[in-house]
Symmetry: C2
Subunit: 245 residues, 2 copies
């Protein structure tokens, strides 16, 4: 039987999602450990994609297989019992065998959270990125340039194994929400570090810098958008799947 | 010369404000270490009052004396340079010699932050208290009973050295703010653990429990309000002083 999990985590303590050698603490290792204790057998848990070191998730999706006939509501409680308190399962559903958390994913939404002010706030430090001051309207106008099908190779760190660098962005914008400045972007997929490089370009524009977004999308030149915004502001908000898998 | 400092901190890593033996990590020890490096001499920093282990501050006030003739804006940057990143100085002003951060304080405002939902959110865990569900209107009505001059000995943990247990509360209420439930209370002073015991009583009422607040204020019986809400939801928001000190 295949199960679909929805997960939230505070990425602060973890070296990202993906399991690593040398016992480095990762979200995947913690989730597989908890799920394996519940299923009673070593169980692989596959997520919709990696999140980097320090990146958070509000709606990561993953799947695993098990023959243990537990009701899904019992799975939620049992897995949470074994998870560290900075990772929580919020839902567990039986999924068809054709469902694959990574391959079936159709859309992902990320949020990048920032705050303005005169000084850094130690209580927002691990959750949002301090950007001093920002012209939110300019940032929003610039963010909308990402919408559409583009070659995003200028917005990619090296080390990516992606076959193609073309992705389609369905929505992108910057808004003020409850005292935070939030860049939210939905697409059919993202290359390595793309959202953080997009956020880095927007922060520069918000501070009065010239927008190089159109030039970077046109030329593919990474040097036009050199900033990578720090990981603590980034949240994987949701992953969407077609209804039929 | 006497200086007034305004401080913010994330109390999560600290054993409260007050310096302790055996090198336990406290906010006071960290601030005195930073200030002493700047003044060039061992410097005592006195706060408006202690905050407990795990409690946060958005507007703690403290004072120290120094003969080092630095402009106050330089003091802010220099002290922040030496502080750990979960403690920040937001302001430094020259104060009259009669100013004493503890003795001159006239009003303090605390906020206790909570959130409702079906499951705990790992990203809110160290900042707000999860309370499942809550009747915010009932909590607000109950909180208003604290307003006025009352004997708060029922709302006090043992270990307090207060001479009198009568305090005056100027404002108290519970509101919904951006998806959080916030109990905010302003008074001329608070006994040991009072705000957390108030919050514990309000959480019980919000979940459908009978209000024992009037009985506890009248009788002084601690057993009527047995809950102490956890420290991570509590914030010292501001301390006010008369204009003339």
């Amino acid at each position: 039987m295949r199960y679909k999990l929805t997960l939230q985590y505070d990425g602060g303590r973890y070296h990202g999602w993906q399991k690593q050698p040398h016992e480095r603490m990762t979200v995947q290792a913690a989730v597989e450990d908890a799920v394996s204790r519940v299923t009673g057998a070593p169980t692989v848990v596959t997520a919709s994609g990696r999140t980097d070191e320090g990146v958070h998730a509000l709606g990561q999706v993953a799947h695993f297989d098990s023959d243990k006939p537990l009701p899904t509501v019992r799975y939620v409680a049992a897995i949470n019992h074994w998870l560290p308190c900075d990772i929580r399962v919020t839902a567990c559903e039986v999924a068809p065998d054709s469902f694959d958390a990574r391959k079936s994913a159709k859309r992902k939404t990320y949020a990048y959270r920032m705050y303005v002010g005169e000084t850094e706030n130690p209580l927002r430090r691990t959750r949002e990125t301090f950007i001093g001051n920002a012209d939110v309207k300019k940032m929003d106008e610039a963010a909308r340039l990402f919408v559409g099908a583009h070659d995003f190779r200028a917005f990619m760190s090296s080390g990516s194994s992606a076959k193609t660098t073309v992705r389609e962005i369905y929505a992108a914008g910057v808004t003020e929400e409850n005292g935070s400045v939030v860049f939210r972007v939905t697409g059919n997929g993202f290359l390595y570090n793309t959202v953080r490089i997009m956020a880095g370009a927007l922060i520069r524009i918000g501070r009065g810098g010239k927008s190089e977004i159109e030039n970077a999308l046109g030329s593919g030149d990474r040097r036009l958008v050199p900033d990578i915004a720090p990981p603590e502001g980034l949240y994987l908000e949701s992953v969407e799947y077609p209804e039929t898998v």
